[in-house]
Symmetry: D3
Subunit: 134 residues, 6 copies
């Protein structure tokens, strides 16, 4: 169970309901995930977090699916169980195939592994300039 009391629609203040309604408009008539209902215990957080999420994830130079896959990669790296589950679902709804997910996780595993060499051997950014010719 979350550590705060989730706010249900029927008990929500007008400020919270406004966000919930916006969520429904965007996602169709699906339910409000527990994640947002937990954040809603502090209405300003809900409004700020939802507005930021909605605006940042809009298509721009990157389409929404690419953004969702980046979000999922960050969540897996951050070891956030809930976030991984939620954003795997969201990316699939936007068209991520099992093959795409497989390649995405290979890059995530690769980067997490190879990042460790960079730090483990203390390769510094300024070292980029010092390179050896064949």
């Amino acid at each position: 169970m979350p550590t705060v009391t989730p706010v249900e629609y029927e008990d929500a203040s007008p400020e919270v309901r406004e966000v919930y309604d916006d969520f429904h408009r965007l996602r169709g008539d699906t339910d409000i995930p527990e994640y947002w209902k937990a954040i809603a215990h502090h209405p300003q957080s809900l409004k700020r977090a939802w507005t930021q999420f909605r605006d940042v994830m809009q298509p721009g130079a990157l389409d929404t699916l690419t953004k969702e896959m980046i979000y999922l990669a960050v969540s897996a790296t951050n070891r956030c169980d809930f976030c991984v589950e939620a954003h795997t679902n969201l990316a699939r709804k936007l068209g991520m195939t099992e093959q795409m997910l497989g390649e995405l996780m290979e890059v995530v595993a690769l980067a997490n592994g190879l990042n460790a060499y960079g730090v483990g051997y203390q390769v510094r950014p300024s070292d980029l300039a010092r390179t050896s010719k064949k």
Copy 2:
């Protein structure tokens, strides 16, 4: 300076040179980054890491630029300075514009921020099912 002695091409064993030559074939006649020269102090690591990197980053269901951007997102989340610098450069060479980088970093910042709520309020994966209708 790295904590191990970087292996220069002229001092490299045939096993290491084979990887360096493969690197040159793939990237054109550029220099070997310090990162790979540091890993080369343990030749098996170099061979394994380079082969994995080369194979995983090939285009598949995801193109190489998308993979590089995912790699960069993981590196920024992992706070790996060298990795961020190197993969920002690589992604740019593959066509990432400043607008794309800007949107990529917004998603990285968003996900790092919103992941924290998920853990901070202990929203569990199994909670996904328990949702409230309007």
Copy 3:
């Protein structure tokens, strides 16, 4: 279940019982959390960890509630489920209101998000000096 066998009071060595008794003295007659009973499988760890915890969390220039909230912020950033739950409870017992928790988590989410820009764009500490006047 923990990966080690938790040590119950009745099975505990005198060294472990001494810590458990100290815990009871400090917290009133509550139960020993599983966390400490797991660490107790290695009595030196229990003694060191408990003594450090008890001494560091004493009021000083910062009061214990502020310290508990800092502890909670670190635990949420570290994605430690058990730690988040335990220290949310402890902070509430010390007087943290729901409004305070809401603001605390907003700062945690903000910092996790904005930290990512610092690394993602490679802003270095030494860059602080190079600033632009209006």
Copy 4:
């Protein structure tokens, strides 16, 4: 150097100048840190990040100094060099003494250390209920 070109005041678009002016109003006539000038290469990021930072850090149930110390604790846990330096400075300007910083870092080190036991021994949140009486 940052991986993006920092935006100086004289080259900034009206949208970016508006944020820079707001920064000056809030902090007095100090310079714009490189951090914000780097984010400014993507003006929407700057506006969103600055607005969120300014609003979240306002005094509420927690005062601004407590919020800054929480921010610093998160930044140290996230190993973000720039962020640690910047927020140590900001907290000092708000009244954090060396004694307070010392106690803050002791809690940060304590929590990072003791969090590791929680995960390392797999103490689960649901384990909290199963406790032993003396």
Copy 5:
């Protein structure tokens, strides 16, 4: 439940079965853990990950038990619940006693705690040279 469908032996392609058979050869006639069956949904990942795991964990200058304990230390630091459980079991099978596990976790907790001071006070690698004589 995993976010992908685990691949059972009887439904597996020849490429996946080859890895499963290799796993059985190495570990005796034990079952395939869910971890590998999840990765198997993307057969190239399974082959790459398993081959890397098998080869890296072979005894060399470090014996396999030491390698397993290092693997466990990394997993605890990364807050990976599944990984901690699996590699605690593997290390025990290789001879890790409860006393060794206790000392291992003390080092993990110590390092996680003391690392935080290094970042929190911004002690830089180059600072190593600047030291004071008695």
Copy 6:
């Protein structure tokens, strides 16, 4: 530069000097690293951190070199630059060869990479029991 003023031996209080003297006794007549001189600005931290470090790193069921290598693995995973440099040096003084360092970092990179699959596919600890026979 560190964010606090390092405490030199000649300016140190008797409480701090006692730790510095203990350091000299243990390590021979080498200098005090900046790390400890930074922590010394808060003498209780210095005493607690040094005592814990000294006691935990003593040989027991694990020898000191194995403990140092575990410490290094944690530091590389935590992306702590100073810590990686310092503990690479310490482990070398205790007998770690370049081959051992190479194998250590391969395990660190492997574990960081494979941990990501565990979270990325949401393999849960309780899943360990559900395995498939050949």
